[in-house]
């Protein structure tokens, strides 16, 4: 079934009787060519591109809960490609280009909204660092603009320019950045993959990896053993748990990142703003909620919830930056479990186990990477070669000393 305005009108006039399931609920087959573990954004995108771009039909996605219940169901929906390092920037720019065509590719309105992002600058040193970054973006074919104080003020007159502890001296803007409707991304990929023959299997938790003679044979699940020639693991937040079934330890810690949304408000903020000096970033959803967040809580956690100090810290940052939001109310706070890697960058690579592949370590930046991550992981699973933009995301880069450390924080995950 193709979605379109015409179809919506037709169904509205005929009592919505023509809508069918967005995807099937198939029973698992005995074996697949490729099993993707994890029905979050990255897993679903991987399955979609495996089917669409690499001609793989015998593919299953195994999800322990409901489709989209990974961090794609709990994030602040920002998409951007404003990275510094050559290992990262081309990958995220590739992702941005996929975002720009996502709806047409999936026939599902994921509400990709290129409303721009502005990273605020408060010191000369920060301006120099952002200039280096902006130039790295431009050199990789992305867009970037350096704004001075008045340039920021013209766009965001409601920020605190006159009485700030950390005065605003400018900003790095990426106009093509923006937001997307996070659940809609998962559903678009899920529906597209299902339509192309991928089996999306919910309530199917992987409980073991069957490995013989150093090669993967399939997975043990709560719904029985399922054979596979290749298994791709995309379970950010639980990567260490799943890969421990293969006896692997990862350069990853699980941390909680809280995110927040206010009650619905009439349009107020028409871009994404980040305030690094105050650990705060914000945008406004199409539904009117202010969507904002800050730092991770900072301690290892799988609890999917955080504590008050970070909530207060984030609100302080918001009030310092834009005191006009004070009389809005926080409506909901939630915590997602992040794969915080040792250099702040992800891993898309083969593993020492033949046929076992890993997609992990997205820190708190996995949402924007969803399309490229899926594409690159599909590329790797289908061809056994890394996608050109993801070639740096190797598992052995830590041992070999080829870190991709955007922040320069070193091997301490809670600082990335």
């Amino acid at each position: 079934m193709k979605f379109s305005g015409f179809k919506v009108v037709k169904e509205a006039l005929t009592g919505h009787r023509g809508w069918g399931p967005l995807w099937r609920d198939p029973e698992p087959q005995a074996a697949y060519d490729i099993i993707v573990v994890g029905g979050g954004g990255h897993g679903l995108a991987t399955a979609f591109y495996l089917a669409k771009e690499f001609g793989q039909a015998r593919v299953a996605v195994l999800e322990k809960g409901w489709l989209g219940s990974g961090n794609i169901g709990r994030n602040t929906t920002i998409i951007r490609s404003n990275y510094l390092l050559p290992g990262n920037e081309p990958f995220y720019e590739f992702s941005m280009k996929l975002w720009e065509n996502l709806e047409q590719e999936t026939n599902f309105n994921s509400m990709v909204s290129q409303r721009g992002i502005i990273n605020l600058i408060h010191t000369d040193a920060q301006r120099d660092a952002y200039r280096r970054r902006g130039n790295a973006m431009r050199l990789a074919g992305a867009d970037a603009e350096l704004l001075d104080r008045e340039g920021v003020r013209a766009r965001l007159p409601y920020l605190n320019f006159d009485n700030a502890r950390f005065p605003i001296k400018g900003g790095l803007m990426q106009a093509r950045a923006g937001t997307a409707r996070h659940d809609g991304v998962a559903w678009g990929y899920a529906r597209g993959a299902d339509q192309r023959g991928v089996d999306l299997i919910q309530n199917c938790e992987v409980t073991g990896l069957r490995i013989e003679n150093g090669a993967v044979q399939g997975v043990e699940t709560t719904r029985g053993f399922i054979g596979a020639k290749k298994v791709g693991v995309a379970v950010a937040g639980s990567s260490s748990r799943v890969m421990s079934m293969a006896g692997m330890r990862l350069p990853i810690e699980s941390h909680v990142l809280q995110a927040f949304v206010s009650e619905g408000l009439k349009p107020l903020i028409d871009t994404v703003i980040t305030f690094g000096a105050g650990h705060f970033y914000i945008s406004q959803s199409d539904k009117g909620g202010l969507v904002f967040g800050g730092d991770i809580d900072g301690y290892n956690s799988y609890a999917q919830r955080g504590n008050l100090p970070v909530i207060e810290d984030v609100a302080e940052g918001g009030m310092a930056l834009m005191p006009m939001i004070g009389r809005a109310r926080l409506l909901r706070a939630w915590g997602g479990v992040m794969d915080m890697s040792m250099d702040g960058s992800p891993i898309i690579d083969r593993t020492p186990v033949e046929g076992l592949y890993l997609n992990a370590g997205w820190c708190y930046g996995g949402f924007k990477a969803t399309p490229a991550s899926g594409y690159a992981f599909a590329h790797l699973l289908a061809t056994d070669r890394p996608h050109e933009t993801a070639a740096a995301y190797r598992l052995d880069r830590f041992a070999r000393g080829h870190l991709i450390d955007e922040k320069g924080a070193g091997a301490q995950p809670n600082l990335h």
Partner: protein, 90 residues
């Protein structure tokens, strides 16, 4: 969160700075080589459950503590001075 400091009693976690897995106490001998250091610096068990971890009482008495905490529930099962742990394992 509240951390049961072995010398000072329950203290708010905001007084502390978090480092991570208490395995960081076990720094390899220099002759152990690059591979051992790579494991030490980069790899973690990252358990969902009981986790022994290092907290620094930065806004307090500057003790490093080894806190035993459940990463699924945040329940704290105990805390001791890291230096005691280090001396024991030395």
């Amino acid at each position: 969160m509240l951390i049961p400091h072995p010398l000072l009693g329950l203290r708010d976690a905001q007084e502390f700075t978090y480092l991570g897995d208490a395995a960081l106490i076990g720094r390899p001998a220099p002759e152990a080589g690059e591979a051992a250091f790579c494991d030490y610096v980069f790899l973690r068990d990252n358990p969902a459950g009981i986790h022994r971890e290092l907290w620094f009482h930065e806004q307090g008495d500057r003790s490093w503590l080894v806190v035993t905490r459940n990463t699924l529930t945040h329940e704290i099962l105990g805390a001791e001075l890291a230096t005691d742990v280090a001396r024991r394992s030395a």
